[in-house]
Symmetry: C2
Subunit: 467 residues, 2 copies
């Protein structure tokens, strides 16, 4: 799809010549995110300054029926920001201000291009806590977190992005601007368009302001690493911890390979993994009273001791804690550095994790692929990295997708679904029929049509090709 | 609107003759809820046994373009279940089973007509906790809680109904049956129809199965009653408590009149209210460690002591706690017993409460009405009971609504909205233009049209008459 000079000139008059580019290198840079090795550059990149400019861009896009894809931090893992039909790449990067930290109401109002960690640190300085911590928080945008309904390690206790979004300013595809809700903790006033927008992957509108709920900050935490001799037992321990009445602030699972690859990839993490160890749980409890946290840690110990485990490592210093978290957060990059891979974001009720893990390994054996699994086990959210390794291109493109389909079928049988926190975007859309009936998908598509009758905003995402 | 014999006979063949009625007394009984003194009986009441029968009823309603209103526990406060265009009253009362308490995954699957308190007690027996506790929990249905996105006293710490709904089985207006999501804590798979359904007041589908998240049960709590000499200072204390880093499990506000009327109405509550006291805060903290709760209670004391207060009452026994909660939960009934009234469900960011309260009293003075205010102050959710008292019918029907409009305008100016937990239903729909632009309302109406093109399901609710 080529852009007419007329449209280009209209876009330039909206954003100014400094904020529009058709340079090939720029287009290429904006044409990928962290999803495998995909590259889908737009025809033009625009960098509007505010909601009004975004409104004008979307009006122009409607006039020319031009595909327009919102682009955030480009850290997505489902290809939600890829310009698969070219067209306009709409980068939100200039909307990057923290507008107000409201200490009276425990709220923050931000623009979408604020980096999640920057937001977390800014509110922490005021003694406040924004708990959502995706592994990419050092570079992802909060707007993208809302588009994908991102989670992270602390979701197990504190919930995901959707649980913190109170109100959104959104530019609708027709260029009108609305606030979806109110700045209140409770709201029973009409349909919940705020929650409809969260996780809609930039297909229903462009988010330009965000009001988030904050919590008072906790002062203490205890972190421990528990090595298991059997990976399935690590999964079983997860629900046993909850049944003992503990709600940990993080409960992460890492398979042996994930740890080995990460220790090779990241320098300076002093963790020894004995040969018999097949998986780790990284477990954190947090709160304001250290003596209570020690009690809870002891309760957790008494639960995991019912399984075959090696010696538990308690992180005694901040440095040790940071090293363990660095290890956990580096797994995805380490796997990526090791081989071409596909990452699936399966999620099931947490007690189903052992069955899911066993099933994934069986399916891998059937189709001849290796998988490395890790993730937010406390939520039942298992990231499955399928490794290309020595597979031929043919096996990779034909056999592996059959295996992935079987993994998702298993996930849905276990009352889970396709994505816990990465979204469907481009790469998972043709598996949507596994989770939803045709009726259900058509209902979603008609909602999309209500917002975006010309299908200009982020087309080719979420919905399967043959709907 | 009269029903043809043909349609009646079709409905009878669906539910069986024991579960259909056109008896005038029955119609009258199903024609009201707890909203003021409204009465809108349907032409026929049907009591289907399951989702399949509901699907057949909705297909018939579509064939005959017959208004059909889902009816639950009839405890609603916004008239969401009133059959304002007559037609079919669809009572869910026979779908009243707790289907599964899943102790492994901390979930419960229920039918919509389970009474909320019955649900809470059933899971408590297994050591689990469903925190949402609307004042009507002894008689309201969980299905109605979902339709209205109900809150309650514990929402301040634990959130409202929407925060516990994982997945819903819904009969769509065309008779098709879907599950909206998955039984998982995280979900980034397509548009969030689960959350679109929560709070949609029975206008988008009939909920027939519900999967709720549960928590491990806390073992202890501390409850205190703090009497303030100035009502505004009680409101100010609310946000001061949060800023001190405490998240109470309940933080309720009651004006002097609310308490006086309640103590007259309910017998056997041993609370003395000195003359100078103008308002109370009822404050609870909960957790597993009594010594920590005492620390937190002391922190709260040190916050409230900065205001002009009388002696704080600590509830030492279960009986005292129950008495205080009974007092709080009886306020609405006590006000109702005292006078005809209208109840508004305003909600603002919590720090705006003093300004809201002052504004409401000013508006009352301007239009000559008395108001009694109480509610979930920790959430910024203030129930405003406007008392008819000695007002003439003309004042009641013409002047008072002008005042209510001003109250809602003030609420929205303070970044709040019309309803925190009661819904819009029938009685608040003509105030919706205060909170939403025409664009926004039309967007919601087009979503309604996607689900229900013939507008048969609960027509005349949420949307203003002149949209």
């Amino acid at each position: 799809m080529a852009l007419s000079l007329e449209l280009l000139s209209r876009l330039e008059s909206i954003v100014g010549s400094a904020y529009i580019s058709t340079d090939v290198e720029v287009l290429k840079a904006y044409g990928h995110d962290e999803t495998e090795d995909y590259s889908f550059p737009p025809n033009v990149v625009v960098k509007p300054a505010n909601a009004f400019e975004i409104a004008e861009i979307l009006k122009a896009a409607n006039d020319y029926k031009m595909p327009t894809t919102p682009i955030g931090g480009r850290t997505g893992l489902s290809g939600g920001a890829l310009c698969i039909y070219e067209g306009i790449g709409l980068s939100t990067e200039r909307l990057n201000q923290i507008l107000e930290i409201d200490e009276q109401n425990l709220q923050v109002t931000v623009e979408p291009a604020v980096i999640t960690q920057v937001l977390r640190e800014a509110v922490a300085e005021k003694g406040l806590f924004y708990p959502v911590d995706p592994s990419s928080m050092g570079s992802c945008f909060i707007g993208g977190n809302i588009a994908e309904n991102s989670g992270g390690a602390r979701a197990v206790k504190y919930g995901v992005t959707k649980d913190y979004v109170l109100n959104l300013e959104v530019v609708l595809p027709n260029g009108e601007i609305i606030w979806t809700g109110a700045n209140t903790l409770k709201n029973s006033t009409g349909y919940n368009l705020t929650q409809l927008m969260v996780g809609s992957e930039g297909t229903l509108g462009v988010i330009t302001k965000i009001v988030l709920k904050l919590l008072p900050k906790n002062s203490h935490n205890v972190l421990m690493l528990v090595p298991f001799f059997k990976a399935e037992e690590a999964c079983e321990a997860v629900s046993a911890i909850f049944r003992a009445g503990i709600v940990p602030s993080a409960l992460e699972f890492m398979e042996r390979d994930a740890i080995d690859w990460t220790l090779q990839f990241v320098e300076g993490i002093n963790v020894q993994v004995p040969e018999k160890v097949q998986a780790h749980l990284l477990i954190e409890v947090d709160g304001n009273y250290p003596e209570i946290l020690m009690l809870e840690a002891e309760k957790i110990l008494s639960v995991v001791e019912h399984f075959e485990i090696d010696e538990v490592l308690f992180a005694d210093t901040e440095d040790q804690k940071n090293a363990l978290w660095k290890m956990r957060r580096s797994v995805a990059e380490a796997v990526k550095a090791n081989s071409v891979y596909k990452e699936e974001d399966t999620v099931v009720p947490r007690y189903m994790l052992p069955e899911l893990l066993t099933g994934i390994k069986k399916i891998g054996a059937k189709y001849g692929f290796q998988s490395v699994c890790y993730g937010h086990a406390g939520d039942g959210n298992l990231h499955v990295n399928i490794i290309k390794g020595d597979l031929t291109d043919e096996q990779w493109q034909i056999e592996v997708p059959k295996g992935i389909r079987e993994i998702f079928e298993l996930t849905v049988q276990l009352k889970g679904t396709l994505s816990g926190e990465h979204g469907i975007g481009f790469v998972q859309k043709n598996f949507m029929d596994i989770a939803f009936s045709k009726t259900h998908l058509e209902l979603m598509e008609r909602i999309k049509h209500v917002f975006d009758p010309n299908n200009i905003l982020n087309p080719g995402k979420i919905f399967p090709d043959n709907l």
